[in-house]
């Protein structure tokens, strides 16, 4: 599949967009979300979620200052849905953020829902369903926000959008059912069947000698991070997750699920060779690697389409660029005065149904009855009390403009990419593997201008420390962006400046209608209680904890076993101690007498 570059930027369009920017244009998309069939890896034709009868789904492109309106109609028939615009801050429009059970109810089949917000940030983003484990079925696409005043605007000639992802052959609903089940007690995540680039394989990208290209790379996958490298070309990283960085050269980068990198690649002057580029799924994440799995997806930078497409050369080891070293171009200083710090201890464990769940501070996230934002708006002064958001939502109430610090200790031997809605955070500490928990009494040296992004990898049994200013009133999720772990509860809720939200936010009618269609309450605490909002009776609960040690059942069984054993031993002793029967003894005597010589 060749990419048509001219469709993204050409001088006329750029000029047009510039004018629109000045005039604050409105960009409208009518999305009819429904099932279509696709076979992107050539191995399995399967139903995927497309838009307007097509898959891959459209790219959303706009300029800074534009208003984006997405009229989403759910034509899936069998699943509700929602759209989240990953990385967009949605300042002032928290209710357009998209996660079901947090800022909205799911869009029921047959219903429509309008997302309407303005953009004030440039860069590379993406949009995807934020309804239970749904986006890996195909509902994921790029969001590109152009910036007429970009510091990069004179540094490249063309822009190329490249998405990477893992790919399954089965629908997420079935996979999720098998994943959170007694028969998967170790919580082994389903292993993808293949890797895709731009929702296909063997992608070719035409290169013109001497030109410089801005590659906007997005991992839209469900699970696997990917190592990405271009043979014979160096990447110059200039943006991560929408934050311009000081340019840094890299031969290989590591893109976790949901991360984005914009890199400049300068074309060679010669056209005698075409070059392979690779995305390679990080197999460390997989419980078992099937022998049949090809973790790699190959594409080519094509200088001359009459020449061969050479096979990618094998590499000895993966040695990706460490994103912690990046410096934001705006040089925002380290937030060195923290107003509110809290710790999230991550672990995986099993609950009473035998399935494996993910926990922050021993709490696995369970979606409340009332979307948390709606609880904020309907609980009055109690909205500042985290209790109203339920016992199983890991809710933290943040004061307006506080500097907030999240310490995350990964007590799990897996890699996890963490994402915060509504913010890009400063990454002030990131440990190596096996570093254990963060010690706040002996903090390491922190970078003066820390890297900022909205999705960050925490290493196995390591920790990260993130800081951000709570300048965006709203309800924002903080979660692992491995879709399996979202489903198994690795989510915390940031309730930011709830009283300001009450003053500034009004819900549109179609948002309330969506709840009505889904038969979900729109007022009250997490349990839907509107009278006493501190009473959580009826709130959705996770499965009970695993019984530890002996329950009544075990004690009864053990006591019965012991009694049975003692009775058995008593019977044996009775039999063994019984004298020989009279008959026996008489016989023995007779025998002895008869046998005795003389």
């Amino acid at each position: 599949m060749a990419l048509s570059l001219s469709s993204f930027i050409n001088p006329i369009a750029a000029l047009l967009l510039f004018i629109l920017h000045v005039n604050a244009a409105t960009v409208t998309y009518d999305f009819d979300i429904g099932w279509v069939y696709a076979n992107p890896d050539g191995m399995a034709n399967r139903p995927v979620i497309g838009i307007n009868g097509k898959w891959p789904i459209p790219i959303i492109a706009a300029d800074i200052g534009d208003r984006i309106i997405v009229n989403a109609k759910n034509s899936l028939g069998n699943e509700s849905t929602s759209l989240h615009f990953h990385g967009l801050y949605q300042n002032g429009t928290n209710h357009m953020d998209g996660p079901v059970g947090v800022t909205q109810c799911g869009i029921a089949p047959g219903s429509s829902f309008t997302y309407n917000f303005t953009i004030d940030q440039p860069g590379t983003y993406w949009y995807h369903s934020h309804s239970r484990g749904q986006y890996p079925d195909g509902l994921r696409g790029a969001v590109i926000i152009h910036d007429p005043d970009s510091p990069l605007k004179n540094m490249y000639d063309e822009e190329i959008i490249v998405t990477f992802s893992d790919w399954y052959h089965d629908l997420m609903n079935g996979l999720l059912e098998g994943f959170i089940k007694y028969s998967n007690p170790t919580g082994a995540e389903p292993v993808p069947k293949s890797a895709l680039v731009n929702e296909t394989q063997n992608l070719t990208i035409s290169m013109e000698p001497g030109k410089t290209y801005l590659f906007r790379m997005i991992n839209v996958g469900a699970f696997a991070a990917q190592y990405v490298w271009f043979e014979g070309h160096t990447m110059q990283i200039v943006e991560v997750d929408g934050i311009y960085t000081e340019p840094e050269d890299a031969d290989m980068i590591y893109i976790t699920a949901a991360q984005r990198y914009a890199v400049l690649i300068t074309a060679k002057n010669e056209t005698d060779t075409n070059y392979a580029f690779m995305g390679s799924m990080d197999e460390d994440l997989f419980d078992t690697v099937p022998a049949t799995l090809n973790p790699n997806v190959t594409g080519w930078l094509v200088y001359d389409d009459k020449k061969d497409l050479p096979a990618a050369a094998p590499i000895d080891s993966f040695d990706p660029f460490d994103d912690f070293a990046l410096i934001p171009q705006d040089k925002e200083k380290l937030f060195d005065k923290v107003d509110y710090s809290f710790t999230l201890d991550l672990k995986m464990d099993n609950l009473g149904d035998g399935a494996n769940y993910a926990f922050f501070n021993d709490i696995t996230y369970v979606s409340p009855k009332v979307p948390t934002l709606y609880s904020v708006l309907t609980t009055g002064d109690n909205a500042t009390n985290p209790l109203v958001y339920g016992d199983h939502t890991n809710s933290f109430v943040l004061g307006h403009n506080q500097v907030v610090e999240i310490v995350l200790n990964n007590n799990d031997p897996g890699k996890h990419p963490f994402h915060l809605h509504g913010h890009a955070f400063q990454v002030v500490v990131r440990s190596d593997d096996e570093a254990g928990n963060y010690d706040p009494t002996a903090p390491p040296d922190m970078p003066k201008t820390p890297m900022r992004r909205d999705t960050i990898l925490v290493r196995p049994d390591g920790h990260i420390v993130l800081r951000f200013r709570a300048d965006n009133p709203g309800v924002w999720l903080f979660h692992c962006h491995i879709e399996w772990h979202v489903s198994s509860g690795l989510i915390a809720t940031m309730v930011e400046a709830p009283l300001i939200l009450q003053d500034t936010l009004t819900l549109p009618a179609d948002h309330l209608a969506a709840c009505k269609a889904a038969d979900m309450p729109t007022a009250g605490n997490a349990a839907g209680n509107t009278i006493n909002v501190l009473d959580l009776k009826g709130q959705p609960l996770p499965p009970p904890r695993l019984p530890s040690g002996f329950t009544a059942r075990g004690i009864v069984a053990l006591v019965f076993s012991v009694i049975a054993a003692f009775l058995g031993l008593a019977t044996i002793s009775w039999y063994g101690a019984a004298p020989l029967s009279k008959e026996e003894e008489a016989k023995l005597k007779r025998d002895i007498q008869a046998g005795e010589p003389q």
Binding site: S561, A565, G568, T571, S573, W574, E583, I592, G595
Partner: protein, 372 residues
């Protein structure tokens, strides 16, 4: 610990060795009483030497055969079991349970052997005395009579030894080779020691208590093995469900099927790293840190069977018939039939061996079958 000391193997060795040493001690004391060093020192010495030669020869053959069997078993067997390990362990456990259950009752009656053997011995010597009267019985019989003092211990050792080899093979199928030596040696030493005490005139009552206690242990082991066999079958099923070896997940969640769990503690696992003290607890009493409905029910069911079985045998010994049945004519028939059997030493030994292998229930019949 379980990997270097197999408890059932110990009890089997102990039992077989005790039986052998009782017989040998009866022979020796019989010789002492009838001939005595003072009465006919030359013949006495010769006969004592015969006895010990018989023991040594029997032991030698048993060791050769036993070593060959065990060697062959470990040479062929191990790898073929790897994939279906849990099924095999379960099957072996069942086999071991049946063997122990059947032979255990016989152990209780070892104390009677002294009397029985005294009778046999007397008969053998009697036959020897009267050999001039019946010379036509063939050379073999005459030879056998002449060397009775060699043949009796030889055959006894051979018989008990091979029995032990077969039992140990059955019980120890699932055990590593390292579990055998110490258990075998300890069993032999303990059996020999107790036999010696009996020879030196240890009293009947303490022997009886001793036998009861060791039989009780044997049945505890068997109950545990039975429960464990069921547990292995269930664990095999669980391994298939999760598509791997649950033991790899340690003792925690995921190592067991929550739906079948009666109790589970995340410690005290008898399967991991030999189990330590819990491993001994497991092989003696069938301890599981993760008990299932199957393992608990089978354990209790086993004891119910034992209680009923011993109860019936006890009742029959006391009353001559099973409960709810009249003292039947069957017993009489049996007596008549068996009295027609040959009374030679060897043939009686064969009958005796058969009866003993079948278990204690037949001991009653065995006593009856001797001609009055």
């Amino acid at each position: 610990m379980v990997n270097v000391f197999a408890v059932p193997v110990f009890f089997i060795c102990f039992r077989e060795c005790l039986e052998t040493s009782i017989i040998v001690s009866v022979l020796l004391s019989f010789l002492k009483q009838t001939l005595g060093p003072e009465r006919d020192p030359v013949v006495y010495k010769k006969l004592v030497k015969q006895v010990w030669l018989g023991v040594a020869a029997g032991l030698f053959i048993v060791i050769v055969i036993g070593a060959g069997m065990i060697g062959a078993f470990y040479g062929i067997g191990k790898d073929t079991f790897a994939n279906t390990e849990y099924i095999w362990e379960g099957v072996f456990g069942l086999v071991a349970t049946i063997i122990i259950s059947l032979m255990g009752a016989a152990l209780l009656r070892v104390s009677k052997l002294q009397d029985k053997w005294r009778v046999k011995l007397a008969k053998a010597l009697e036959a020897k005395d009267s050999k001039s009267v019946v010379p036509a019985n063939g050379r073999f019989k005459r030879w056998a009579e002449k060397y009775a003092m060699f043949l009796l211990p030889f055959v006894t050792v051979l018989r008990e030894g091979l029995e032990a080899v077969i039992f140990i093979g059955g019980v120890g199928l699932g055990l590593p080779a390292t579990a055998f030596p110490i258990a075998v040696i300890c069993g032999l030493l303990a059996g020999g020691a107790v036999g010696f005490v009996i020879y030196k005139g240890g009293n009947r009552t303490s022997l009886q208590i001793f036998l009861i206690v060791s039989t009780c242990f044997l049945y505890l082991v068997a109950a545990g093995l039975f429960s464990k066999a069921i547990w292995f079958f269930e664990q095999n099923k669980w391994n298939h469900i999760i598509g791997g070896d649950a033991a790899e997940t340690g003792s925690g969640p995921g190592s067991y099927d929550i739906r079948d769990s009666v109790w589970h503690v995340n410690c005290c696992n008898p399967e991991i790293n030999g189990g330590g003290g819990w491993g001994i607890f497991n092989s003696l009493f069938g301890w599981q840190n993760s008990a299932t409905y199957g393992s608990v029910l089978s354990y209790n069911l086993y004891w119910i069977c034992v209680i009923i079985g011993f109860g019936l045998m006890g009742y029959k010994e006391k009353n001559g018939h099973y409960p709810f049945r009249k003292a039947s004519t069957k017993v009489e028939d049996e007596r008549r039939n068996s009295s027609s059997q040959g009374s030679g030493v060897l043939s009686e030994q064969i009958a005796d061996k058969r009866a003993e292998a079948v278990g204690a229930g037949t001991n009653v019949r065995e006593v009856r079958e001797s001609p009055a």
